[in-house]
Structures are given as structure tokens and as C-alpha cells.
């Protein structure tokens, strides 16, 4: 958000990024970011690995600057990408730049493929949560949740209450609701955020996505998630979070104010993200498997060490 004058290279990256987003359509901007970074590696013409890494970091910074609402996801995804790409560099015996570059590109591509497959994996792991006649509450219009709901077999009929949470884009809500409504086996009800307490006693389970999964197993998600989580906990309803592993972030917020402000606020300086502590979360469904909140830290360590 800090004003900066883009140089020609920066412009290039920005264009590339936007291009990839356009091509990607439904995919998360994080994947577009990864593609941009891979492209950066491919077109790098420096002579040392350090330079390459610096360029990647610069690209990350630019991409983060122009990303709109998926900033968190993009940021954690890029950080993980960098980690993966440079992980085994030390094992490469030859000091040749080309080999390093190739290696990084390979690793990066593998990571990209994993990311692309992630959403399907999460959705298919999350679909069995829903049983016949279930009453679920959906909050925050997550793409992943949508996929999961679509993957529920036709013969399982259930009811979904969808909250009309704060809109980021004008047509975001309509799209989500429209998509869910399309499924023949889902009966949809649209409720205001304020009706959550009222409806909670009839609900069987709550499904949310996440913009980021933080180190202690909590999540950063659209504002209102914390209220839903507290209400669900009080009424003994399980809360399931569907998130791909590229959303795992190294942030560790202590409370709401500890969340970095560049993520917290959206347009018009309104709060966009809140932090839900792990004690309200029953289980996280990720492409790395089903995780209890305490297992998230373990997974993160595994990724980064």
C-alpha cells in the first residue's frame, strides 16, 4: 500500500501476475503468484543464486502489493515457495548457476502442481463431513467450501445456511450463493450475520474456509468468523476449517490487535480479517490430511525445516 514507482521490471511482473490471475479464473491468486515466481526464475539472467533469490523476493513484494483480498494467502504461499525452491540447494554438488536454476525451477513446478491439486484434495476430504439430512452453517464464502459442497454425492440431501457476510466484491456473494443453489441436493437459506446465534441451536456443524492458518492452529479469516466460532463452541457444535496447505503462515498472533495491520484492514479502512484461536476449532481439513489444531505447528515445522 506504500506508494512506489514501479520500474519496468516491476511492471512486467505486475502484468504477468494479472495475466495469470485472468487465466486462472477460479483458482486462488496464490497460484497465479507462484506461476509468476516460476516465470521469474526462468527468465532470470543473473549469475549467482543470491541474485536469483533477491529477485524472487522482490517479485514477491510486488505481487503482494497489488494483490487485493487474498493478500494473506499469496504471502504465505510465496514464502513457502521460496522455502521449497531453495531447500535442497545445498545438496547440489555442482556450483553451476544453470543447474541451480533448473533445480529451483523443478522444485517450484512440483510445488505449483501440489498447490493446484490441493483444493480438490481438501474438497474431497471435506465432503464426507456432511451426512444425509445435515444442517450446516457456512460462513465467509470460501471457494474451498464451495468445492467441498459440490463434491457431496447427489443422494445426500442437506440444508445449508449461508451468511451474508461483509462483501469484498460486489458480486462475490451472489456468485457463491448462486453456485451453491445450483446443486440439487442442497437446500439453501440465506441469513444475516446477526441471525447466527438464533440459528445455531438447530445446526449440526459449521464449515468455514481460511485466508491463512497461523502457527498455533488458529485461523485468520473474514471478520465474523470469530463470532461464529464462539457461538458454535458454546452450543457444542463442531467447527471445521477447510484450507489448503499453502495457506499455512508463520504469523503467530496473540490476539486481534496482534494481527499485522496490512492484513487486517480492507477497503475504506474497515476491518476485514479476524483471528480465531485454535480452541474454537474442532478440526482442520487440509491437503496434508486431517489435522487437529495442535498438529498444524508440527506440519509447519516440517515444511520449513
Amino acid at each position: 500500500m506504500s506508494a512506489f514507482v514501479p520500474g519496468s521490471k516491476d511492471n512486467e511482473i505486475m502484468n504477468l501476475f494479472e495475466n495469470f490471475i485472468a487465466i486462472g479464473q477460479e483458482q486462488s491468486p496464490a497460484i497465479a503468484a507462484v506461476r509468476t515466481l516460476i516465470h521469474t526464475i526462468q527468465n532470470h539472467d543473473g549469475s549467482t543464486v543470491n541474485q536469483l533469490v533477491q529477485e524472487i523476493k522482490e517479485a514477491i513484494r510486488i505481487v503482494e502489493t497489488i494483490t487485493g483480498k487474498s493478500k494473506l494467502a499469496v504471502s504465505s504461499c510465496c514464502a513457502q515457495f521460496l522455502q521449497h525452491a531453495t531447500l535442497n540447494l545445498a545438496n547440489i554438488e555442482s556450483a553451476e548457476m544453470a543447474m541451480c536454476k533448473n533445480h529451483m525451477e523443478e522444485e517450484g513446478t512440483k510445488y505449483l502442481q501440489r498447490c493446484e491439486r490441493a483444493i480438490t484434495k481438501v474438497a474431497s476430504a471435506g465432503a464426507p463431513l456432511i451426512f444425509d439430512g445435515a444442517k450446516i452453517l457456512v460462513h465467509s464464502n470460501s471457494q474451498v467450501v464451495l468445492e467441498a459442497l459440490k463434491l457431496v454425492p447427489e443422494n445426500i440431501k442437506f440444508t445449508a445456511w449461508i451468511t451474508s457476510s461483509e462483501k469484498d466484491a460486489a458480486n462475490e456473494i451472489q456468485d457463491f450463493e448462486y453456485e451453491v443453489d445450483k446443486c440439487a441436493n442442497i437446500t439453501t437459506n440465506f441469513i444475516q450475520d446477526s441471525e447466527i446465534g438464533y440459528i445455531m441451536e438447530t445446526i449440526d456443524l459449521v464449515l468455514v474456509g481460511a485466508e491463512a492458518v497461523v502457527k498455533n492452529g488458529g485461523i485468520l479469516n473474514k471478520v465474523g468468523t470469530l463470532s461464529v466460532a464462539i457461538c458454535a463452541k458454546e452450543m457444542n457444535k463442531p467447527l471445521y476449517v477447510l484450507a489448503e496447505s499453502f495457506k499455512f503462515s508463520l504469523i503467530y498472533p496473540l490476539n486481534q490487535r496482534d494481527v499485522p495491520s496490512e492484513f487486517r484492514y480492507g477497503a475504506n479502512n474497515r476491518v476485514r480479517i479476524d483471528y480465531t484461536p485454535p480452541k474454537y476449532i474442532t478440526m482442520l481439513i487440509t491437503d496434508r490430511g486431517l489435522l487437529t489444531p495442535t498438529a498444524v505447528c508440527d506440519e509447519l515445522l516440517e515444511m520449513y525445516l
Binding site: 531447500l87 535442497n88 545438496n91 512440483k110 501440489r114 464426507p128 463431513l129 451426512f131 445435515a134 449440526d204 456443524l205 463442531p238 478440526m283 491437503d287 496434508r288 490430511g289 486431517l290 489435522l291 487437529t292 495442535t294 498438529a295 508440527d298 516440517e302
Partner: protein
């Protein structure tokens, strides 16, 4: 391929399958030992040559046994463990033979290996593992009981429910050093609690036998709850005998710690996803313990349920004591990670 050996293995497997289907078993330990016997026979035979063969056979067997009795996961768990151990052994042997292999990211490592390479030492490795597993199974109760001194002190009142071999050994071991009291809930309708109460009283441990309805009333005077379980689920919850959920809730209300004693083979990699877990993996046995046949016409309009298992969520449990040590429920995922093969990524 020794066809005789193959036949023996197959016939034992069929026998075990029949046992499971007919429900003619009482303890999952028994099933586990039988499963290990079958695997041992197979491993000793010449029916397999490569790790790949063995793993395939193990997976098939696990599937067969799972279909025979969906609620019994002990045999499946053991076989999964074996698969992981076989894979690890193979990987280690393979690496030691090919030291030049780059150590890869764990995510991709297994995809790169071909399990159809023959490694002669693998056979003896696997056989050793099976022996170890067998002895672990047989000694599980004693191993867990060794922790007894640390947990039960003098003048405490301990509550338990039903009959668990592990709990019995635990309490008797603790009684050698400390003088304490035990309250046993009888666990209707099977009423296994009577057996435990009798056994404890015979060992001169002060025992009180109560009906299940009195559990909440007595809980205010209890210092600890010590229970066994049928299996531990992947999220740290329990699949235990019906009635344990009541005990756990009452203990939570009075803030009494709940300690669960469980040998490793009872740890299951299943997650209780569906909120209707009770319908999917529960067993319902004959309600003749609840109702009398002679009053049949009166009860013809009644559906009597006699479920065997209960699901206890992980937030009600304070501590697990495995034969390898004690753990909090939040750490179960790590144990799973180490014990069972990873999900394919």
C-alpha cells in the same frame, strides 16, 4: 510358492474372518494376536518375494478383515503398522545399498522407490518385527502397569467402569505400594464391572461396586478416573464401551482427571468425521440383556437398543498412558504419524 503353506495361511485367515463376522470375540487383544499369527505364517512361507508382494498381501488382508467386522479396527491397525515398518525397512536397506541416493523431501521419497526390488534381509527384518509386535501385545498390560506408581497415591479414590485387563493390572500394581480405594461402575447391561470388583476385592483392594446411575452422585468424592478403551481415534477421541461417555462428562463437571490406559495396537488412524459416528462404526448386540423374552407382546412396539460402543470427544480426556509412555490427547496426531504409513500425497 509352497501351496501347503499358502493353504494354511488362507485357512487361518478364513477362520479369523468367520470369527469376526459371527462376533465370537470379546477382546481386541485376542483378535490382534490371531492376526499376527496369520501374518507370521505368511511371512515365513515362500509366498512372497519382494516387499511389493508383501505389502499388497497385507493390504488385501486388512481389507478383508475390515469388511468382516467394521467396528473392529485392531487387526487393521496392526497390519497398517506392519506396512509402515516394511516400507521403512525396505527404504533403509535400499539406501544402505545405494548410498549415493540423494535424500529427498519426505513428501516425494516414497513415490520414487520401487518396492519390487528383492532384498533378502527384508525377510528376517520383517520376522523380527513380528516377534517384537507379538511380545509387545502380550506384555502391554504389564508395561502400562509400570506407570501405576506415578499416578495413584495413598488415600485416593479411583473410579473405573466395566472390566479392562489393563486397568486391572494397573490397579493391582498400584496397590502394592499404596492403599487406596476403587469404585467400580457395573456397566450395565453386560455388567462386566462385577468381574472386576470381585477380582480387586480378592486382591484385598477396598472396592465399592455401584450401579451406573450412581456415577454422578459418587463423582464428587472421586480423585481420579481410570478407564480402558476399545480404541483411540485419530483426533484423540475414544471409542469405548457404552457408558464411558457418562463417566467422562461427570468427571469433567467435577474437574476430575480422566486417565485412559491403552496399548499401542488400539490406536486407530480413523477420524470420526460424521457427527453420527455412532451409527457408522458402532455395534449393536442383542437386547436380551435389557428385556425379557417372556414379556414379548408388551414390548413388541418398542425398539430396544443395546449399543456396545460410545464415542468420547477428546476434550474430556486428560491423559493417555500407552505402553510407550504418557501423552496428552492433542499429541495423538504425532504418534499416528510415527506409527502408520502416511496418506498418499
Amino acid at each position: 510358492m509352497g501351496s501347503v503353506e499358502e493353504d494354511t495361511t488362507t485357512s487361518s485367515l478364513l477362520a479369523l474372518e468367520a470369527l469376526l463376522k459371527r462376533g465370537q470375540y470379546t477382546r481386541s487383544g485376542q483378535i490382534s494376536l490371531l492376526t499376527l499369527d496369520i501374518v507370521e505364517k505368511y511371512v515365513q512361507s515362500n509366498c512372497w518375494k519382494t516387499a511389493g508382494d508383501l505389502i499388497t498381501w497385507l493390504q488385501d488382508t486388512a481389507e478383508t478383515l475390515r469388511k468382516a467386522a467394521a467396528s473392529e479396527t485392531a487387526s487393521g491397525n496392526l497390519i497398517l503398522r506392519l506396512i509402515k515398518i516394511v516400507r521403512d525397512d525396505f527404504t533403509n536397506r535400499h539406501r544402505s545399498r545405494n548410498p549415493g541416493l540423494m535424500s529427498q523431501n519426505s513428501v516425494d521419497s516414497e513415490q520414487g522407490l520401487d518396492f519390487n526390488l528383492e532384498i533378502p534381509e527384508l525377510r528376517s527384518d520383517v520376522q523380527n518385527t513380528i516377534y517384537e509386535l507379538q511380545s509387545e501385545l502380550e506384555l502391554s498390560a504389564e508395561n502400562i502397569a509400570e506407570e501405576a506408581d506415578k499416578h495413584i497415591h495413598s488415600n485416593e479414590v479411583v473410579l473405573t467402569m466395566g472390566k479392562s485387563k489393563t486397568v486391572e493390572a494397573f490397579l493391582k500394581r498400584a496397590a502394592k505400594k499404596a492403599v487406596f480405594e476403587v469404585i467400580v461402575a457395573e456397566c450395565a447391561p453386560a455388567s462386566n464391572g462385577h468381574e472386576l470388583a470381585h477380582s480387586l476385592a480378592s486382591s484385598k483392594i477396598q472396592t465399592t461396586l455401584i450401579a451406573d446411575t450412581a456415577i454422578f452422585a459418587m463423582m464428587s468424592r472421586v480423585n481420579k478416573v481410570i478407564i480402558g478403551t476399545h480404541s483411540v481415534l485419530a483426533n484423540g477421541g475414544l471409542k469405548a464401551i457404552a457408558g464411558i461417555h457418562l463417566v467422562a462428562l461427570a468427571a469433567k463437571y467435577y474437574n476430575v482427571p480422566v486417565i485412559v490406559l491403552v496399548p499401542m495396537y488400539k490406536l486407530s488412524p480413523e477420524y470420526p468425521l460424521s457427527t453420527d459416528i455412532n451409527k457408522t462404526t458402532n455395534r449393536f448386540v442383542s437386547p436380551d440383556q435389557l428385556l425379557d423374552y417372556s414379556d414379548g407382546d408388551v414390548y413388541s412396539k418398542v425398539c430396544a437398543y443395546n449399543p456396545v460402543f460410545d464415542y468420547v470427544p477428546p476434550n474430556l480426556i486428560s491423559l493417555f498412558i500407552f505402553n510407550i509412555g504418557s501423552l496428552a490427547p492433542s499429541y495423538i496426531y504425532r504418534l499416528l504419524h510415527e506409527t502408520y504409513p502416511q496418506i498418499k500425497r
